[in-house]
Each structure stands twice: as structure tokens, then as C-alpha cells.
Symmetry: C2
Amino acid sequence: MPLNQTAREAERERIARHVLDLVKERGSEIPWTVAMAESGLTRARFEALFADYDDMFDAVAQTWLAPQLQVMEEVLATTLPPPRKMYEFFRRRFVISQERFRADPQFFSILCEMGAANFERVRSYVDLADHYLCELIAEAQADGYFAGLEIDEALSMINQMVTVYTMPDALIYLGDKLSEKKLARIVDTMFIGLSGEAGADASGVNTLKVAS
Amino acid sequence: MPLNQTAREAERERIARHVLDLVKERGSEIPWTVAMAESGLTRARFEALFADYDDMFDAVAQTWLAPQLQVMEEVLATTLPPPRKMYEFFRRRFVISQERFRADPQFFSILCEMGAANFERVRSYVDLADHYLCELIAEAQADGYFAGLEIDEALSMINQMVTVYTMPDALIYLGDKLSEKKLARIVDTMFIGLSGEAGADASGVNTLKVAS
């Protein structure tokens, strides 16, 4: 009997959670056939839920990233001033990752590796985060911040400067060097300093001085 | 016949270059025994040059990172204004990595993996770069930049904000999104915005507003 859409989604999520538990338990990525065998479902039923490994990975990624999506949406819905709003946009996701990392560093590392190895499957999450960040940048520009920059330019610069707080792997090699306080400083530094004029002093295009 | 110190260094470097050629040719890390067999040296002679794999890896890393060390020292010796000097400090190393990445992305990736897997062996390079950056920060602070921050705090913030330009792996996943122009903007953004006061707006400690 085919499942209706809601029941099918719920069943996909149930299996995705089970796959995550197996990853945690066994300390490795779970192949398609193992996931099927461990699911307790018949092959036909399993294949009716997931077209292939990639499709199953999508469900796992969606389940794992659901809290991040939720906090991004919560922050977008607030009416905080732009610097605070952008800080919260990054901070809340960072806190989720940091808690997960601290709770089980090995499990966290494996999930980072899985994400890197299946990057195309998590791209839609990255794209959505970029989309939301563009909204925040537009709001900030309406208040006079990031003057003289196209939204896409500001997006790229901001993403680069906060990379260590958005890329989960950074927790593995930086650990306690990452903190909410430093993130707040970085966000303010960007709000104070980032504009279309930044770059001229550093690269020397505004003077006759040459570097060497 | 034991080699004198100079001849021994030269011979270590010669073998290190050969190992790098082998990594490039075969597309994989070169084990100790293979390096020995391919060196054309007797086992006794090889073991007189390198105590063990780690010691050989040190020689390989030293050879690979020599250009970076050289440009850091060149920049430190200049009398450029602080923003330009710091920009050059990061830019010149970034350009070396970018050229190497573009010349042979696969070889570059393997070396990144080797560096990550043997991080303790490249730590002295990272420590030296930090040491030099502290000098640049002290010079900048003498000119009034980064006010109200301890050198170590400024060091950590700056390293975090330019991570994508110093961590070679970033070239693999960001590629042409990294540019000298953006790096110049990031450096200026830090010089304009980074101080002990940054962080209060973003985190809201200066107001009664709360985030949620």
C-alpha cells in the first residue's frame, strides 16, 4: 500500500534518524545495503521510500540540518537591528554545532566527512543560508551599512570572514579558539569596516607606494 | 663517511624534492620504505639522513614551505604602512598557494591532505607565521589600530577572519571566489573595524534589547 505524502515524509525521517544513530554507533558512514537491512523494512518498502543512496543522504542531511534551518528562520523573522540580527544568524547555528561537537566529537567528525563527501547534497542548505544572508545584507544596506558594495560582493566577503563559524569542520581543528564573543567582534568589525572603500589602503591603490 | 652539516642539509633537501616529485607522479603520499627504495641510497645512508618518517616529512614540509617563509621574511623587513604590510603578509603566501593549486590541483590536494594528516609536523610553520603576525599587530597598534585588544586577542581574530586565505584547502573548495582584491578588503575592514569596542553592538551588551 503506497504511503500518503505526510506518512511518507514521517517514515523517511524515522529512517534518517535511525541511519544517524547507526553512524554514531558504528563510527562510519552507513552504506545503502546496510541501511536497508537495518531498517527492518522489506527491500520494496525501503526502495519506495528512497530512490537511491543520494536520496537517502538527502533525508539524513535534512534531518540533521533541521535545527539550523529553524534558527535561521527564527532570526529572519525578528526585528533586531542589523548587527544584532546578523550576529544571531551566525551565532545560533554555531551554538548548535558547538554543542553537537562537544557532545560527541567523533560522531561530529564523521558527519563532517559525510557532508564534505556528499557536498552536492548539502548545497541546497548552503544556498538557502546565502539567500537569507542576502536578505540581512539588504536590510543592513537600507540602514547605511556595507555602502558601495553589491549584495553579492558583501555576501562573499561576509561569508569568507565568518567561515570558521559556519564551516563545522573548523570546530575540529580550532575548538575553544572559537567563541561567541569573538564572533560578535567579527560581526561588528564587518559592520564598522566593510564597504566599497575598504581595500584601497591595504592594496595601496590610493597611493604611489609600491610593495617591494 | 658521515656528511658535514651543510652537505647533510643539502642531501636532505635533495631527497625531499625527490619525494615531492614522487607524490606528484603517483598521486599519493609516499611511504618511508618506498622513499628509501626510490632514493637510490643504501638503507644505512638513508637512515643516516632521516631518523624516521616524521623526520623525512619535516624535510619535505620545510622544502615545500620555503617560499612562504621567504616572503614572510621579506614583508617583515619592509617599512610599509601597517595595512599594506599586513595585506602583503597574507597576499604573497596566498599567491604562492594559488599558483601551485592552479598548476596542479590534484598534487596540491594531496599535499593538503598530507599536511592535515601530519599537522604536528607543520605546526612550527604555523607558530612562526603567528609570531610574525604578532610583530605586525604590535606595529599596527603603535599606529593606533586594533585599540583596546591584547596582541593575542587581535592575533586570534585576524587569523579567524583571513582563514580562507591562509588555509590552503580553501582553494580547493572556494577556488576563484578567493581573490587578492577581496583579501585587501578584508584586511582594510579589520584595520577600520577591529578594536576592543567591536562586539558590543552585535551581541547587544550595550543595550537592554534581547535576542528572542
